[in-house]
Symmetry: C2
Subunit: 461 residues, 2 copies
């Protein structure tokens, strides 16, 4: 009962659909951040749910690790087969199965990317709101509890999945949730699976919420002398009940990254990028009310627009934050980490993070979904320089400890994966054994993405 | 190891804090619906979390059932000790521990009622949104995944709890979630506990979201010739992105109940009651846009107001739906059931439910949170009349089967408790054994509210 015996059994079942070519294995060991390439032993491209069920059943019989793979855009190595075994690449299960426009829902396969879903929806007047930046797969986004710039208005994946079809560790196919918008029926397995990173079951179908494309959109930008002024603007805006669709904080270093990468010429000070959705009257009123609040905190250069081309340029720039941050660290690998704190502690968290990066001699950008208290630090890493690796590790460790000290979480949207597993005990304490009990109950042979989320003795910090 | 041995051990620990007087036992066996009075063996009023932990630990050692009790307003007998044992009445743990106005959160004890929380918040400009009608406790609302009239805008309990302190079955005190507005860290035990009806852990503290009291509120009413016209108005309103704060459907029988109970003189036709929250400009615009859509579906007597006294009168009437429905069934017990379907199937569901109640010779009102596809039927039951009991049971059984056939759920907000447990297999199928595995992993001695949520062989339907 080993990976090798599983591969033999899988080959009997699948023939040359069991892919073991070096190129494909290496491709599935790659990642967008600083983790070492970690190829699996084999890759399979399942065609349908029954396929997944049979493969998982075999893997379970042979105690062979199995890792679900979407678009490979995870930032904490969730998609890497760190204990070897089989990767299930869902790129062939990428269909929109149904759009129910009266219900504002869609039924999709997990390999579909969010951009492909929105392209498909183009003529319906509806859109799928969750937008983590990367063109991630729907299954991967659900599995990592992804969110992004629009979460402050439309919610995270946790708020936008109504139902799943899931293959459990023994190959059983189950359904969680229903087509109704809410339910009080039974344990909420849907939410238990969201953010479980493929360790409790493998998602083979999702029913997600859609939203009406707003009649009008306005976007605004302004800059501040300090991060505190920017955050206080956000707090007062939220308290005032102004419904923001997006509200993004960029620190001076991030602005420098944009100026370098996107050839903009913004003053290198903290900025807010904001967006409002609604009727033409509403978005005009909201932008102006926001401008008044920003003015109370000495904002400069407040400007708003409803023009599509200006808005597109703004958010195109914002979406390149990952690469713009990277561009400040030429020739290095890149680590994008995130934490989330109560918004009342956000200014303190951002200021302390900036001080720490300076102290450690690192170039870190900060960009945040500030309405949620969630922010990202982007740091270059020269993986040939042990001293720099140590300093980057110290930086991210300090950031996580800071977030916990301020009553927050070590990750708002990137997930635990491998990178944050050492903080599971610090964040969840006495709850970890109960998470482990749930894992053992649902995946007794520990075949589903082993090594992720649930710490073992060596992962302690 | 019996209930009796547990009671002896608890008496040693608690002295006369272990209450066994007939009056208190009977009071905790009562319910607002048709279930037989089911007194527990003892009642304890815990003072703090450590108290709860010690009591649960003892009950676990003696395999004694333990049931958390809030305000006793459950509609599916969630709070009844159907297998005997101990009821933990949280009325002494009813404090607001902290209001974090910058974070729009509050930390509260489970025995606090939602009305007391909102009274406490009166001067802060903030409110707690979830409103199931009854003045339920916060712990009970979380445990049953309650929602209500405002869920269409502000969400259900599932959307409004950020964090818990929980006593697990072995007495361990854990914390789930954090003070941050979102997290991607570890399994979502918070959501696993929401709606678990006290069967996986006992909530001893909640961190909940608050919302800013809107600057302006407008309310509107209109009536329709048919349920279909009313539902189509709602669908188009939602598709148009008009942000409704409340949208309630009342059928002709419900309107008759209001006319009887609240001395109103509404025409006995389907009505919509709607509310909008926002700036004065926005709520005026939204009410008028809604009126235009309603007009397309031949609405009559469309009227809207921002006047506080008129709005209060409207929602006071709506909140008395339970008693107004009951008033149509004088001298009987009363069953309030709920299902939830995709909104595209709502008109069909309501019409079929009405036909079935007429066929069975029952007087059933229908009132629904129609933006969510969730509706309630209120039926009188003469519990001394076996034939009527059988017809009521046939009616609710048919309603549940109908909801499932239409892609919905057997309960949108009342929960499973005892009343709906026979439909767990029909709704969840192959997922039930995994729910049972989670229950066994977290409560191996089955002490936490046994007999609820998870069906045994005899609960099958």
């Amino acid at each position: 009962m080993t990976i090798q015996s599983a591969l033999k059994a899988l080959e009997r079942l699948l023939g040359d659909r069991l892919v073991t070519s070096d190129a494909v294995l290496a491709q599935h060991g790659e990642n967008e951040t600083y983790f070492t390439n970690t190829p699996p032993d084999a890759v399979i491209f399942p065609e349908n749910t029954e396929d997944v069920s049979q493969i998982v059943k075999l893997c379970n019989m042979h105690a062979c690790p199995i890792v679900a793979y979407g678009a490979g855009t995870s930032l904490e190595a969730q998609h890497l087969a760190v204990q070897g075994g089989v990767v299930l690449d869902f790129s062939n299960m990428n269909s929109v199965l149904e759009v129910r426009d009266e219900d504002l829902t869609a039924v999709v396969q997990p390999g579909l990317t969010r951009e492909d879903l929105n392209t498909y929806l183009r003529d319906t007047g509806l859109f799928f709101s969750v937008d983590p930046g990367a063109n991630a797969s729907m299954g991967g986004m659900a599995a990592t509890r992804a969110s992004g710039t629009t979460a402050v208005r439309y919610g995270t994946m946790s708020d936008n999945v109504l139902a799943f079809e899931v293959v459990m560790a023994d190959g059983t196919i189950i359904r969680t949730g229903t087509g109704a918008r809410k339910t009080a029926s039974g344990y909420d397995l849907t939410h238990l699976l969201i953010g479980s990173e493929g360790t409790l079951g493998i998602i083979t179908e999702l029913t997600v919420k859609l939203h009406g494309i707003p009649e009008a959109v306005s976007a605004a930008t302004c800059r501040f002398d300090s991060v505190e002024d920017a955050v206080n603007t956000v707090i007062l805006t939220i308290q005032s009940g102004i419904p923001m669709a997006r509200i993004e904080l960029l620190d001076d270093v991030m602005v420098r990254g944009f100026n370098t990468y996107s050839k903009s010429d913004l003053p290198e000070k903290p900025h807010l990028f904001v967006e409002f959705h609604g009727s033409p009257t509403a978005v005009a009123e909201q932008a102006e009310n926001f401008g008044d609040i920003a003015g109370e905190f000495s904002a400069e250069d407040f400007a708003w627009t409803t023009k599509l081309e200006e808005r597109t340029a703004l958010w195109a720039m914002r979406h390149k934050a990952h690469y713009a941050s990277w561009s400040l660290n030429p020739g290095k690998k890149f680590l994008a980490t995130d934490v989330c704190v109560p918004i009342s502690r956000l200014a303190e968290a951002v200021v302390k993070a900036k001080e720490d990066s300076v102290r450690l001699g690192l170039t870190s950008t900060i960009v945040g979904h500030v309405g949620d208290g969630n922010f990202h630090c982007g740091v270059g890493v020269d993986t040939d320089n042990p001293d720099e690796i140590a300093r980057v590790e110290e930086f991210t460790d300090n950031l996580c400890k800071l977030a916990l000290r301020l009553g927050g979480t070590v990750t708002g949207e990137h997930g635990i994966g491998v990178g944050k597993i050492k903080f599971m005990d610090a964040e969840h304490g006495a709850a970890v054994p109960f998470m482990r009990a749930v894992k053992a109950a649902l995946d007794p042979n520990n075949i589903l993405n082993p090594g992720k989320v649930i710490p073992t003795a060596t992962d302690k910090r």
